[in-house]
Homo-oligomer: 376 residues x 2
């Protein structure tokens, strides 16, 4: 038995999480979950008529800590570049809300939560969650905060899937929906890369059929390989080439062995090894499954345009070098929104930084979001 790993949720600092109690909920898979809780953070001040609220939906491995020092990792929140006083999403104007998704591992109900029926963590017995489930819990949170209509919902990547689901399920819930580097459904290649990650986790004997918490271990090696795989898809070929190329790591010549000779190898190993300390392996399985399952066209007889009604204004933003969610796929969303009579703007941001550009200090992303929120 090795030392019990410390996860966000199990850390004493969990007490710092703000919790919304969503009660007993039946999920899309048919399972009823008791005592569903969402951990969330807010930034800025809700105005008197509760009309300035912006919901931010986080990506696959994100959480509710958008800015400021993350209470557990000590790093800055994942969207501090974009949100804050006088920033693209201006917290002097807006009341910004972000909650950890259902099935996540940063305080919301998920595989690391205690099952009230057994007193033990759910682990792999946690039910499969969908984008619709995640959004239903968020809806409950928003209503709980006394907000009838959001000024805007914005989401990058998996967050954009949630924003799309919001637009479909609750067509009057937001005046604006901003979709960034996302898709209305995963391609076969997207599913393939996620499946590689899942197989890497489940192949690790320390996964123990999903019951690794009982054994005091985590499937560290498998989760690291899964993260490495994901990470390569978040970066463009050009960025990898510009940033690393074939440069060697801490050496002037090849080692003729299996060390990390190349900088890109060293970088990926580092990305994998640090991820395992901040993210739960089962939660990674559930998050990747939720994104693979998401198919807003299928849910509407194969016609995406039928997913949308209401008067919401949409803003669709793609990243030119994003090969995970290419511009062509986002154009399909624009077409469907046009076909369903919605006001929709579309921008393709020119960047060589791939999918991850939404996280980075990329001026064009900031300016584009700033323009969007200028109309909100």
């Amino acid at each position: 038995m090795t030392k019990q790993p410390s996860f966000l949720y199990n850390n004493p600092d969990v007490l710092r999480h703000t919790i919304h109690d969503a009660g007993t909920r039946t999920l899309q898979c048919g399972v009823t979950l008791p005592e569903v809780r969402l951990a969330y953070q807010t930034y800025g001040t809700l105005n008197a008529d509760a009309s300035n609220a912006v919901l931010v939906c986080h990506a696959l491995t994100g959480d509710q800590y958008l800015l400021g020092t993350h209470p557990l990792t000590g790093k800055e929140g994942w969207w501090h570049t974009m949100i804050g006083p006088k920033k693209a999403i201006d917290t002097d104007r807006f009341f910004v809300i972000c909650s950890n998704v259902l099935g996540g591992c940063a305080g919301s109900t998920g595989p690391l939560s205690l099952n009230p029926a057994t007193g033990k963590e759910y682990g792999i017995d946690f039910p499969t969650v969908t984008m619709r489930d995640m959004v239903q819990m968020q809806y409950d949170l928003i209503r709980g905060l006394g907000i009838q209509q959001l000024a805007a919902i914005i989401g990058p990547s998996m967050g954009g899937m949630q924003a799309l689901q919001w637009g479909s399920t609750y067509p009057h819930a937001a005046r604006h929906i901003i979709l960034l580097a996302t898709s209305h459904r995963h391609s076969a290649q997207n599913i393939a890369f996620h499946e590689i990650g899942r197989q890497a986790i489940m192949a690790d004997p320390d996964w123990h059929g999903g019951r690794y918490r009982d054994f005091g271990v985590i499937p560290r090696r498998g989760l690291a390989v899964a993260r490495m795989t994901g990470h390569v898809t978040y970066m463009s070929e050009q960025t990898l080439q510009r940033r690393f190329g074939r440069s060697l790591q801490d050496r002037t010549q090849l080692s003729y062995g299996f060390d990390a000779d190349f900088q890109v190898e060293s970088y990926l190993r580092y990305q994998g090894s640090t991820f395992v300390d901040r993210f739960d392996a089962n939660s990674y399985l559930y998050m990747t499954r939720a994104t693979d399952y998401f198919d807003l066209a299928f849910d509407h007889g194969g016609v995406l345009a039928k997913a949308f009604s209401g008067q919401t204004r949409y803003h669709v933003i793609s990243l030119s070098s994003d090969w995970l969610f290419p511009t062509a796929g986002m154009r399909q969303i624009v077409k469907a929104l046009n076909a369903s009579g919605h006001a929709v703007s579309f921008v393709e941001i020119q960047t060589h930084r791939g999918h991850d550009a939404f996280l980075l200090n990329e001026p064009d992303v900031m300016q584009t979001l700033s323009s969007c929120f200028g109309t909100v």
Copy 2:
């Protein structure tokens, strides 16, 4: 202890391999290997003046069995579509040779070979091999067969790297060199995907630090994940979408679990699971390392044109949807060959089938190779 796995090399049918003894050889890494052997096959008949010999160099996980029934797997040889009587590489005209590369696992000296110094298999103690090492052994084989000059050398993928190395190291060894879906050096993204595969193998506890043969096991799960990762890079996004899309496997609705719901998941799992019975995990490490290390420009002061001399005619063929070795990279080879004064033809074959198109029954590939060999 589970049953000792049966590899090609250890199978009694190994006796069917034709072996060339290359003697004691010092490799690029500085290590001297005794008793180096190459397993090879030939097809067609060598003519009286030994002027009709064509060397085929195989790809990462290929072997010397080009056509006919593979003696061990029972399947057809990997390039039966392209080689045979009246085919693109016509065995009525040409004497075709293919040898398993040094470091491989189909009969040539590699990690599965016995180290004469210890009487045990080399395993992970096998020295790192390079493209130059592989080609030097092939040169010895060709000379051993009494051939002074090859009519042509052809190689797809890693085979193309060997063909490039041949052109550089032995500029008068062939009248024609045909490069198909290859590169003169791996990009950072290529290295990244290989590193994911290596980390998956080495993360498997059954790898046992590379000494799994001592434990009677193979790192089955890690090697399967490595193969899945490789396989996704061999297929284009479009092929995955056309062939699988989001179709479900043997079911009409989602399972809400972690089974292979999608056909693409089932397909990849199958590719992974069948690979482990035909390929040695350590050999996979050595092959991926050799391709990552290959950099013909670096070897010539960063100027690829300096790699080439002599009068060889080059034929460069790229595949439009190959994102592993894109056309842009192959154009760099063409430019370098032009700059060094070589006769060179260039064709980009339009196909949606990605890198793997060279293996498939793709009429344009056959016609292009047929045209090439019409000039040989």
